[in-house]
């Protein structure tokens, strides 16, 4: 006998939007690093590093959309919630961006 599980309702949509915001944050972070901001008439940016972060952001966005589709098929079953392997890539990816940023800030401040 299957135990009653309440329908997640709008929380699925809110979670999908949260994934999209996370992807957009990475894209914005990549654009900022790639183009920089105007300083004394010049622009200090790092296009290659920014492109990597931007691609990570698009990847996170795609992962979020894919997970939402996969989970939509599992609603009502005990497997509709996130597991460790769903979230660990995002956490480790952001950690690696931080490590790379620390190295850039420490060794190559422009």
């Amino acid at each position: 006998m299957t135990a009653y599980r309440p329908h997640p309702g709008a929380s699925v949509e809110r979670t999908r939007l949260a994934w999209q915001r996370s992807g957009l944050s990475l894209v914005a972070c990549g654009l900022l690093i790639a183009r920089g901001v105007p300083v004394d008439g010049g622009v200090g940016g790092r296009p290659s590093l920014g492109l990597v972060v931007l691609l990570l952001g698009l990847g996170a966005w795609a992962v979020g959309l894919r997970q939402e589709r996969v989970r939509a098929k599992r609603i009502g079953t005990p497997r509709d919630a996130a597991v460790l392997s769903d979230l660990a890539p995002v956490a480790i990816g952001t950690f690696l961006i931080g490590v790379a940023g620390f190295a850039v800030g420490l060794l190559f401040p422009s």
């Binding site: 901001v37 005990p78 597991v83 401040p109």
Partner: protein, 153 residues
């Protein structure tokens, strides 16, 4: 292309979620388990799915906070004009980047601890990240004030 992506996803899941594959991934699994603890789905029973989704959104919100800290730190070290004080920009920016990197992985640990508590029907553990982030940002703000004051005098 899609098949390869599915295979990769299954491998990743096998390593972290201990899905049976007949291979031992202890070298990859051990550091993650050491930091995060046992995978939440191994203990207890699945709670109300709305709580699980809320926990996931909290993780994502912390992840965005980590990205914001890293972005601001990079902007300070790379985009601000230099201060008169040597290493002035790095004194302000590097702690923010380091905090962002730490928050990124610590938020995964908090997500797992919250999920385990919910699955076991226990009270949620006390969150330590808000205090840590507040204290570090406060200290960096004081350092930034001192650097700006010394630099312009």
């Amino acid at each position: 292309m899609m098949a390869a992506a599915v295979v990769r996803t299954r491998c990743w899941s096998a390593v972290l979620d201990r899905r049976p594959t007949g291979r031992d991934h202890a070298a990859v699994r051990s550091p993650v388990r050491w930091f995060v603890g046992p995978p939440p789905h191994e203990v207890g029973e699945e709670p109300d799915p709305r709580f699980s989704y809320a926990n996931e959104r909290t993780f994502l919100a912390w992840n965005r906070t980590a990205l914001a800290l890293i972005s601001v730190g990079l902007a300070v070290t790379n985009l601000l004009p230099p201060f008169d004080l040597p290493f002035g920009r790095r004194l302000i920016g590097l702690p923010l980047i380091a905090l962002g990197a730490f928050v990124a992985v610590a938020s995964l640990r908090e997500w797992a601890a919250n999920q385990r508590a919910m699955r076991l029907g226990q009270p949620l553990p006390v969150a330590r990240l808000p205090l840590l982030v507040s204290v570090v940002i406060g200290i960096v703000a004081v350092v930034a004030l001192l650097v700006a004051t010394v630099s312009t005098s």
